[in-house]
């Protein structure tokens, strides 16, 4: 199947056309302020025959939250009384964002215990009352969150059913569908999701019309990429836009892994300003630890563990003491650097002067300390790679991005440096090759490590198949087993993620 991957970044919109896992063509165009015309231009420059799927990775939803723009109000139904009233929804949000998002909140009796028993039975009358008030005041985006709902979602499901019945216009985000344990963080994810629903509806219909206008027929399926590097169907993306946050670095690492045919090792994406290091585990980015803040809101999203250092092709060079970056000429590289006739010494210039980088038609310039600069860049990159490594064993390093020339061919602890073709558009390649995933994050009790893992893997696989993965090609890509303190009966929280190619 031929697929097009598009990654909308802050600076560039990249596209890649793949046939199977082979890259046929790539394109790089500037990101436009309306986003859409950039996507159209990328599509225009690629062949559009026989395309089975277009997969888009976008930063639009993240940007909307960061800029507090284009967000709608959200109402909350918190299931958990008589507990939790002193920590209402939106606790800990930046005040300006909470102000934009805050609608009414209703606390209702209910909730679940860690072992699946009811904490209290759901107060259905209170839910109906909330639904009527939301309908009256025109609040459509509604978050339903209940304690331990990932363990037993029935109360959240029932509440959503009642709200839909009494408020047909409601768009309901149930917290358990955003997965993680940690009520406030899960509810935060719900709130971020719900406040993006109006924007999501318009963005996604615009994507669909861009695909239509590009002449791609009804046989072309449209997907967005998720934070974890897997596919999200467009219908699901309209309901869960929050799952597309931060897909950029993930796509870049996934693309690098596949272009270089490496599943375990390191990736460095050297751009104009920074070098971003990540680690690959089973071909997927290693996830960052614990809570992550998005637009100042604490969530438990699984995002790739990325370490950035201020070193890129446009990094400025300072003398005595010798220093590279973190300041960069950025997009002005082609005007301000020595190589392009400007007056600011940059890392690109040092690479040209030492012959590491061969550019045609470069004017004469004097950079006497160029080899010292390249030595320092080597040390910075080697140190960054070493910090991302988990063991002293040598691993391969995949170098991608426009500044990849700064990565030396040999480094301590690195078995080989790989520079795959199309490395400049690894992010779009990663989007095109995104797989379908399934995930389970739950507390199991009374089962040992092996049995709990087996059951979790089974549930995650069913989840992936339901989303369209080819059942015989599903692989486990992430396993976490956390025995829980101060709980009886061998309680353990198990998280398993599986993925497989689209069927």
């Amino acid at each position: 199947m031929r697929r097009i991957g598009i990654d909308v970044g802050g600076t560039n919109t990249d596209g890649a056309l793949l046939d199977g896992s082979e890259v046929v063509d790539t394109v790089k165009t500037p990101t436009t302020s309306d986003v859409l015309s950039g996507i159209r231009q990328a599509l225009d420059e690629l062949s559009r025959d026989n395309i089975g799927a277009v997969v888009i990775g976008t930063t639009q939803f993240t940007n909307a939250v960061v800029q507090r723009s284009k967000l709608n109000r959200v109402g909350f139904v918190r299931i958990g009384l008589p507990a939790g009233r002193s920590l209402p929804p939106l606790s800990g949000w930046p005040p300006d964002l909470a102000e934009v998002v805050r609608g009414q909140t209703f606390f209702v009796k209910g909730g679940v215990e860690y072992d699946g028993r009811a904490f209290e039975h759901l107060d259905e009358l209170a839910v109906v009352e909330a639904a009527k008030q939301f309908a009256d005041n025109g609040t459509n985006a509604i978050v339903v969150s209940g304690s331990f709902s990932p363990i037993d979602p029935q109360q959240e499901n029932r509440a959503a059913e009642l709200i839909a019945e009494h408020h047909p216009g409601a768009q309901i985000t149930m917290s358990h569908q955003l997965g993680q344990l940690g009520l406030l963080e899960r509810e935060n994810a719900g709130g971020l999701n719900a406040c993006l629903l109006e924007l999501a509806a318009s963005v996604i219909s615009a994507f669909a019309s861009a695909i239509d206008q590009a002449g791609l027929g009804a046989n072309t399926r449209l997907f967005l990429t998720q934070n974890n590097g897997t596919l999200l169907e467009v219908e699901a993306a309209a309901k869960y836009p929050v799952l597309t946050f931060a897909s950029g670095p993930t796509n870049s690492m996934r693309g690098a892994a596949m272009l270089a045919d490496v599943t375990e090792g390191l990736v460095v994406d050297v751009g104009g300003t920074t070098a971003d290091f990540g680690a690959l585990v089973s071909g997927y980015p290693r996830q960052a630890n614990a809570a992550v803040e998005i637009g100042g809101v604490r969530t438990l999203f699984q995002l790739p563990d990325v370490m950035s250092i201020g070193l890129g092709g446009g990094s400025k060079i300072y003398r005595s003491p010798l220093r590279i970056g973190p300041e960069s000429v950025g997009q002005k590289l082609t005007k301000e650097s020595l190589t392009f006739g400007g007056s600011v010494p940059t890392l690109t210039d040092a690479a040209v002067a030492t012959g590491r980088l061969d550019l045609p038609g470069v004017p004469q310039f004097d950079l006497s300390n160029a080899s010292e600069v390249m030595d320092l860049a080597t040390r910075m990159i080697a140190d960054g790679a070493d910090r991302m490594k988990l063991s002293s064993q040598a691993v391969p390093l995949v170098a991608v991005g426009g500044g990849a020339f700064a990565v030396p061919d040999q480094m301590a602890g690195i078995s080989e440096v790989l520079r795959p073709a199309y490395g400049n558009t690894a992010n779009a390649v990663g989007a095109a090759l995104a797989e379908v995933s399934g995930v389970i994050d739950r507390v199991f009790y009374g089962l040992g490590h092996e049995a709990a893992l087996a059951e979790a893997t089974q549930l995650a696989t069913e989840d992936a198949v339901a989303s369209g993965a080819a059942p015989n090609l599903i692989e486990v890509i992430e396993v976490e087993d956390l025995p829980l303190a101060y709980m009886p009966g061998d309680a353990r929280r198990v998280r398993v993620r599986v993925a497989g190619p689209l069927q």
Partner: protein, 358 residues
């Protein structure tokens, strides 16, 4: 000397208490958020020095028992903590003059503030651990041989219990643990009431103001772009034991406790070295290249190498870049009697105690 705690102090307490949690005690995040909301309305709390207490003053000793994960789902209300104190006051038939923490390490540091919101009584600048410990009987009060009963326990649904008598502190831990588990692995407790005289003699005095000071030093270091870990070491007279990254964490639960081992690979001046941390809810034993460099009762704290933020045994994950520091425990805990409760052997390790700062 008595002082008022304001919103800034509450932020600092969260940072300092989490460091003193030595990997356990539960993240103070949620309780901190709760108190931040209350402090942002201008509410202040009165913190009094134990020396100001009358000998016969009655002090309530509070903590919430249970699983940190349950606390993240069933968010605790301040009123639950206050209710535990009220149930105890009803039981003993007298009112409390002040309230104090059992455990300054981790989320329980905030419990006396949560009670004080409703009860309007001052908070005593002291606790009974000086850090976090895995079990409720691992306190200065137990080491001092003080009376372990009664105990009041409350859950938000209206379950209220009093354990009226137990033969030993260990029995109090067992009885209250069973009640806690049955109410969903989370319950607010008010421990055996203490007199002013008992607190002056047997508590870890000024531990709350110390936690606040520790947090304020981290805040100032970050604001001045200085190394927060150096600031912590200076404030707590701590020694740096290791710097590196976490390469493996192996956890298992045994008897309700999270046990395991974390392995660190050295970076910078520790490159080529490795460290091994054994934990039971808290970090208990630290080895560097096979040699023991710190044990309980001394404080072993694992900190994020950049931010200085403490890393818990439940949240430590591979790849984190960390600095390991050690702090000498207060004298009572390293006394012969103290080691029976909180020494390495009391936790199941055939090791002599090792002071990280000697």
């Amino acid at each position: 000397m008595s002082r008022r705690l304001n919103a800034q102090d509450i932020d600092d307490l969260a940072v300092g208490a989490w460091i003193l949690g030595t990997g356990g005690g539960g993240s103070p995040y949620l309780n901190h958020l709760n108190m931040q909301r209350i402090a942002s309305t201008g509410t202040e709390f009165e913190l009094i020095d134990p020396q100001e207490l009358a000998d016969e003053a009655q002090v309530a000793v509070v903590s919430t028992m249970g699983a940190p994960l349950v606390m993240q789902e069933r968010l605790q209300d301040t009123s639950d903590v206050a209710r535990a104190v009220e149930v105890m006051a009803d039981h003993i038939g007298s009112k409390f003059d002040a309230v104090m923490a059992t455990e300054i390490g981790g989320s329980n540091a905030f419990q006396p503030l949560m009670a004080a919101v409703h009860l309007g009584i001052p908070i005593v600048d002291a606790d009974a651990m000086g850090r976090a410990y895995p079990e409720a009987q691992m306190t200065s009060f137990a080491i001092g041989g003080l009376q372990p009963w009664p105990l009041a326990l409350v859950d938000p649904r209206g379950v209220e219990a009093v354990v009226t008598h137990v033969p030993t502190w260990k029995w109090m831990e067992r009885a209250s643990r069973v009640l806690t588990i049955e109410t969903g692995s989370m319950a607010a407790t008010c421990k055996a009431p203490r007199t002013g005289a008992e607190i002056k003699q047997w508590s870890v005095v000024n531990s709350m103001s110390f936690a606040i000071y520790l947090g304020s030093e981290v805040r100032k270091a970050r604001a001045q772009l200085e190394d927060p870990i150096q600031a912590i070491c200076a404030a707590a007279k701590a020694s740096i034991l290791f710097a590196g990254k976490i390469v493996d964490v192996d956890r298992k639960t045994t008897g309700g406790f999270l046990k395991g081992v974390a392995l660190l690979d050295g970076l910078d001046e520790y490159a080529g070295s490795e460290a091994r941390l054994e934990f039971q809810n808290e970090w208990l034993i630290a080895r560097r290249d096979g040699n023991v460099v710190a044990t309980v009762p001394h404080l072993i704290c694992l900190l994020d190498a950049t931010s200085g933020e403490a890393i818990g045994t439940e949240t430590a994950r591979y790849g984190q870049r960390v600095v390991l520091i050690g702090i000498t425990a207060p004298p009572l805990f390293r006394s012969e009697e103290g080691l029976k409760y909180v020494g390495p052997r009391a936790m199941g390790y055939e090791l002599d105690p090792t002071d990280p700062c000697q």
